[in-house]
Symmetry: C2
Subunit: 294 residues, 2 copies
């Protein structure tokens, strides 16, 4: 099977590593506009050969793992090049604009819109790790628009990598993911900003901050090049979640200002049962940390 990875970073690289260890006879080609990443990905054995768009006619599988604004240009180009039996899928964090973009493409049935809820705050081929997708959810959108046999091939691959599958329409995907992913990133970035602005002596932050702070602000290490187009494409939903978040923070502040600490207590207690929701995620994550030894 000839696999083309477009974008040989954390996600594309990890996908290639898992494919190689799950299936025999996999040949992995890499396409990346970042020459250094491409060379690094070859050197570290993530991909076997560098390739170009014109080579896509030979592809059995194309995996798109690039910033979501660039996907809007690249996905139609990919569909233009591939043969009739090729499966194209992607890892983009927004789905509505991309699905709209190719809705009338003659090769629409070769594309399966995906979003694996997997990743770390790191990026580039050096961040690629084996098992990244294990026990993670892959959200698939507009499955009915993909050819049956290519749906089947995709599911076989996703299952081999250990992913759970959830089906959603692109608009619902973008709305829900604004809450559970995009908002967390803004909250972490702005928390980081608030503290860096205040604490000019960074050695002091390091000394006083504990693991709780590190955990809350962790996503502020994420790549701006990846996240800016996500916020742009999901602008309406993200602004809505931000408004609700800001309003909740203002309410909490007002309760404190009014010395209503009984209600401050209630606010926290009502949210405490998020424990139960998180238990599963955290267990998987700690397992991963142990497995990867980092």
């Amino acid at each position: 099977m000839k696999v083309f990875i477009i974008g040989t970073g954390l996600i594309g690289g990890s996908f290639a590593l898992d494919l190689k260890s799950s299936f025999k006879g996999i040949e992995v080609f890499g396409i990346d506009k970042n020459e250094d990443h491409l060379k690094e990905a070859v050197k570290s054995g993530i991909i076997d050969k560098e390739a170009e768009f014109k080579d896509l006619a030979e592809a059995d599988l194309v995996y798109l793992a690039i910033p979501v604004d660039i996907s809007l240009e690249v996905l139609p180009k990919v569909l233009d090049q591939i043969n009739d039996n090729c499966l194209v899928t992607d890892a983009g964090s927004t789905k509505e604009e991309l699905c709209k973009k190719v809705t009338n493409h003659p090769k629409r049935r070769n594309y399966l819109a995906g979003h694996p809820i997997a990743g770390t705050e790191f990026s580039g081929p050096s961040a690629a790790i084996k098992g990244l997708f294990s026990h993670k959810t892959n959200i698939i959108c507009e499955v009915e628009k993909t050819a049956f046999k290519l749906q089947e091939r995709a599911l076989e691959i996703f299952h081999a990598l250990g992913m759970r599958i959830r089906y959603m329409d692109p608009a619902s995907h973008d709305r829900h993911i604004a809450y559970v992913s995009h908002l967390s990133h803004i909250s972490a970035f702005m928390l980081g900003k608030t503290i860096l602005e205040k604490e000019k002596n960074e050695r002091d932050i390091f000394d006083l901050a504990g693991s709780g702070f590190a955990s809350t602000v962790r996503l502020a290490k994420s790549s701006p090049a990846m996240w800016t187009p996500i916020f742009s494409q999901n602008k309406k939903n993200v602004i809505e979640t931000l408004d609700e978040y800001i309003s909740n923070l203002q309410h909490f502040r007002q309760l404190m200002e009014a010395d209503d600490f009984e209600e401050v207590f209630n606010e926290m207690e009502k949210t405490n049962h998020i424990k139960d929701v998180l238990n599963g995620i955290t267990q998987n994550e700690n397992l991963k940390i142990l497995e990867n030894g980092k």
Copy 2:
């Protein structure tokens, strides 16, 4: 050495466990208004015997690890009971009010104000773990008000437990810690609230949320009984940090609204170097996760 732990939860329990493995001839007594916790702490071997306030006259060391509002009542009572050679120290997350409260107490020199930057989002004696304080910072306030020989004894204990020491005045402590600890908790609680309000079907949150969300919202599992009095005592500083955080979030929202995604990118990029600040904390934390096997 007779050690009295007042508050046999996560912090007090972990302190007792480490003391026992670091020093010989330690006898640990527990005082806790929660009878169940006290029995559980005895049963699991964290403390050797239940005790009462009147027994404190025998104590060589008293460790106070209770909510900060209750410390205001309990610390003077403890100082009233102890003998002249006893060291009293505590783990409270706010220091200004407590230091003021005992400033004129005749036994002020027996007290060392401390705040170990250690903990997890769990609570109670079952959450106590060995090595919790290893590689963590203990912030000590008003060290000059503690008797020399008791300062020395305290440092010997803290070093044996693996803690780094940092000295600050209580007002600076409360101001800095509002940024690096208290604000993170509010940010996590309100993020949790925003998502729970929106996503009534919690199974869906679980399926769509990844480790990034789990990390950002982790502190929303913390104990409201512990955190409400912290916010109350540090009200002025916490409101100031909240105002700055809300203002940063509003600015980010306005940039998105105005489609100024170049500046959205810059906002994130400027905060990205928090990576370097966090590296040390995260390394310690992962080490702990590996050591504890969970």
